[in-house]
Structures are given as structure tokens and as C-alpha cells.
Amino acid sequence: MPDSPALTAHAVSKRFGGLVAVNDISFALAENEVLGLIGPNGSGKTTMMNLISGALRPSAGEIRLYGEDIAGIGASRIARKGVARTFQLVRMLPGLTVLENVTAGGVFGHARRWGQELNDYAHALLQRVGLPNAGDVAMTALTYIDQKRVELARALAGDPKVLLLDEWLAGLNPTELKTGIALIEQLRAEGRTIIIVEHVMHAIRSLCDRCIVMSSGAKIAEGTPRDVLADAEVIRAYLGTADA
């Protein structure tokens, strides 16, 4: 592991009243690494993403971006420091055009553009996610999958250093999945650090350098996708015990 990680979590916890959604999670993520966050539904993956992106404030622990503590400083400041995300259920800006949905991510975020430069950049991003001619279309006219593409373009518009993808590949058909995986690989090749939450194990295997498995808020395994997916405790977390 390199001496200066891009993102570290140290003993991060999040409690909602009596419920511990994220329990004492620690990890370190090297620059340019792709980390998979997996686990059964309700295991706290999305909460963890919300803690990193600043949508939620951790109850305890530290999250550091290039050494700087970003826990609880607020989502907008975290976004400006170079963390971008997509949402598990797409959140679009329905009153704006597709192009504006993308530019929204590039005006106030990490890298800032404006005017023609921003529009050109957003057009290029739309092309990249596979929607070359959708700029002037109303957001509501797009299919769910296309909305997901726009959301990724929006996340990329601020040129983030760390990208959080929450089930971005879910719902894609096999061909789309292939393009999607290739796209994430490209993003990594550009030097971005990526965390993906995903149930598509095929994607986890081909994309991730490392996986963290969560169950009931706690980290139960960490390692390469191959090792982790063979781990007995992980199988039990997903499928239950044999005598259950």
C-alpha cells in the first residue's frame, strides 16, 4: 500500500437512534485503486457512501481525503475537494435539459468551468457515456438507464479525484453492462480513485482491485474479489447458515 492513500476511513460509525448502520469501519484506498463495497441489502453500504460524500455526518471516526479530514464538513465542500457520486436511485433535475443536468456538476464542483467551455465539456461527457445527441432533450423523456448515464456524466463534470458509484451498473442488460464496465475501467485509467457498491458480482470481479464486505454495518472481510467471495463468513452473510 502506498504511503499516502487517496482516501482513508478510520473507525467510522453511524448511528440512527439505536440502530448502528455503520459500525467501526476502517480502510485505506490508494490513488487510482478501485474498491468494491459489497454485502447484503441493508448492510450499510449506501450509508458508508453517504458518509464519504458528506450526505450524512459520521457519529464517530475520521474520513481523510489525501490526508485532510473531511468527516462532517458538508457535502458541498467535500464535492469541491474532488469527491463525486451517483445515487442508488437516480436523482435527476427534471426541470433542466439533459445538457444542463450535466453542466450542473461542472460549475461549482472540483474543477470549475462556465460558458462555452463548460458546454463543450458536457457534450463530450455525454458522448462518453453513450448519449451523444441528447443535450437538448428534456430529462423526463429519457429512460431510467439513460438517466443513470446522465448522472454519471454529471458526476464526471467536476473532474473528481474520487468517484463513488452506488449500484450504477444495476439494471443494465449484458451489452450495456459490458460498455459500462469498460467505461469504469477507462475512468480508472485516467487516474481516478473509485469506490463501487454493486451486486453484479461479475463487474466486481473484473473491476475491483480489492473488496470490502459489509454485513449489519460491520466489515466482515477484506481482500481481492476472488479471496473474499470464497470466504466462508461472506457466503454465510449472503446466504445464511446451512442449518438455518
Binding site: F16, G17, N50, L56, P94
Partner: protein
């Protein structure tokens, strides 16, 4: 000492009023800016009843409650349901409801003005002192206090001990999930809205026993009820009751120590305190 007792006496009526709004906002999820006008309408109705018949204003409850229930049921069916159908999301519904009920509040004020005129009204009922801990208090205040307590308790028991009450509480927690267990959410919401309106009007009946009011006073009560509900936490009826007494005390304190004309300032001070310290309400759970 008398500040505390007057504050408590006032607080009970506020609690009733806030429970009415809570049914509308917490269960039916309608931000009703015409709530205070419903209260004033109850007060006007009582005034009319009392001056016409000279019978106890408590009997006015028998007419006011069903009437307000019917009117609010109709308001929900005619005005609110189309908005619910039209809304593309919760935010738009909220904005539409705020606008529609704001317009409605002016209509109600207009009707009250047309029927009763713009004068300040009050009537004299049980206007004799009763001694509590050696100090005299208006017997009408005490009567209104007891009436409010009885109604609050009844409503609380109804919500917690009956099937329709359970349905309403279920909708308030999660309308979508309530629909899944075959609760008719539209019906339950209409019921909550109508009941809320009836309870608010009943609050008006009781307040009219010791208060001078005019047609334009509604907005002040809307605001007080909203502040109580926020202070108490939107989904918690016990919080609202506690908050109502806090507001009653705060208001009485400001009125007797500074100036009786500044009651709203007390409410706003409380509001500011909540906004800055506990936006989720007194007993509310900190949400995500």
C-alpha cells in the same frame, strides 16, 4: 406563580389546536395555512350561538365539531385531492398545498367578514373569579382548560385504542407502507384532515370563552399551531402537548412582563430557538 398557572391554562387549548394541525400535517401531510381561520370560525360560531341562545358555549361543540368535520372533509375532497393527483413529487405537492390553503384562508376570512363584520368580538361567560392557591383566575379560563384536557385525552385514546386511530397513526409513519397493509390512505388522510379541522374548530370554541377575537386573527393561530407542531416534532403527539404548554408559558410571561401586544414575539423567539438548536423538535428523533 400566576404566570405559570395562566400559561398552563392557555397551554391546554393550544395543545388541542396543535393536535388538530398535527392530524392534518402529520397524517394527511397537508400544510394547512387556513388552520387558524378554522379556529376563528369555531369562535365566531360560538359567539353567534351564545348571543342567540344564551346557553352554555360548551353546547356549541355539539354543532361546531360535526360541521367543521364536514367542511374540512369537503375541503380535502374538493381542493386537496386534485392537488395530490396533479403533483409529480412531494415538493410540488407541498408548494401547491401551501398556495391553495393560503388562498383558502383569505376566502374564509372573507366569509367571516361578510357574515360577522370586522369588529372585535367577545362575550361574557362564567366571568367570575375562581381562587387557585389564593389567587383569582377567570372561571372561563379554567372551564376552557378542562374542556381542552377532556378533548385532548379523548383524541389521544381514540388514536391509540381504536382501529381507525391505528390506521391514522400508520399513515403518519409511512403512507406507502400503510397502503400495502390495505389501509385506504386517501380515506385515512381525508379522515385525518377532517378530524384535524374539527379539533381545531373545537379549540376555537373553547378559546372564545375568554378571548377577544376578530376575523383577521386566524393567521396568528395558524402560526402558533405550526410552531407548536414543529417544536414538538411533527410526528409526536406528546411532544406537541409539551410544546403547547411551553408556548403558553412563554406567551404569558412575555405578555405579563413586557407587553400583551407582543405574544407573537414570544412564539418567534421559541421558533428561532428550535431552528438553531433542535430542528427535529423536542422529542423528535434526529433524522438522516
Amino acid at each position: 406563580m400566576d404566570i405559570i398557572i395562566i400559561g398552563l391554562l392557555l397551554g391546554a387549548t393550544y395543545a388541542l389546536m396543535a393536535m388538530g394541525l398535527q392530524l392534518q400535517y402529520g397524517v394527511a401531510r397537508i400544510m394547512n395555512l387556513a388552520n387558524g381561520e378554522m379556529l376563528i370560525a369555531g369562535a365566531f360560531g360560538t359567539f353567534w350561538f351564545y348571543t342567540a341562545s344564551n346557553a352554555s358555549p360548551f353546547y356549541a361543540l355539539i354543532g361546531v365539531i360535526p360541521l367543521a368535520f364536514a367542511v374540512n372533509w369537503a375541503i380535502y375532497r374538493v381542493l386537496i385531492v386534485p392537488l395530490v393527483r396533479r403533483a409529480r413529487n412531494q415538493g410540488q405537492l407541498e408548494v401547491d398545498c401551501i398556495l391553495a390553503t393560503f388562498g383558502l384562508s383569505f376566502i374564509l376570512v372573507g366569509i367571516l367578514l361578510a357574515v360577522f363584520g370586522g369588529e372585535y368580538l367577545s362575550y361574557s361567560y362564567l366571568a367570575r373569579p375562581i381562587f387557585i392557591l389564593g389567587e383569582p383566575y377567570g372561571l372561563n379560563r379554567v372551564a376552557a382548560f378542562i374542556g381542552s384536557l377532556v378533548l385532548c385525552l379523548g383524541l389521544y385514546l381514540w388514536l391509540h385504542r381504536t382501529r381507525p386511530g391505528l390506521a391514522l397513526r400508520a399513515v403518519s409513519v409511512n403512507p406507502a407502507a400503510a397502503g400495502l397493509v390495505s389501509i385506504n390512505v386517501t380515506r385515512a388522510s381525508a379522515l385525518a384532515f377532517a378530524l384535524g379541522g374539527a379539533v381545531t374548530a373545537a379549540g376555537g370554541v373553547l378559546l372564545s370563552m375568554f378571548l377577544t377575537f376578530d376575523a383577521s386573527l386566524g393567521v396568528v393561530f395558524t402560526l402558533k399551531a405550526l410552531i407548536i407542531v414543529i417544536l414538538g416534532g411533527v410526528s409526536d403527539i406528546r411532544g406537541a402537548i409539551l410544546a403547547a404548554f411551553i408556548l403558553g408559558l412563554a406567551e404569558t410571561t412575555v405578555a405579563s412582563l413586557v407587553d400583551p401586544g407582543l405574544t407573537l414575539a414570544a412564539a418567534y423567539l421559541l421558533f428561532m430557538a428550535i431552528l438553531l438548536v433542535r430542528p427535529e423538535g423536542l422529542l423528535g428523533r434526529r433524522s438522516s
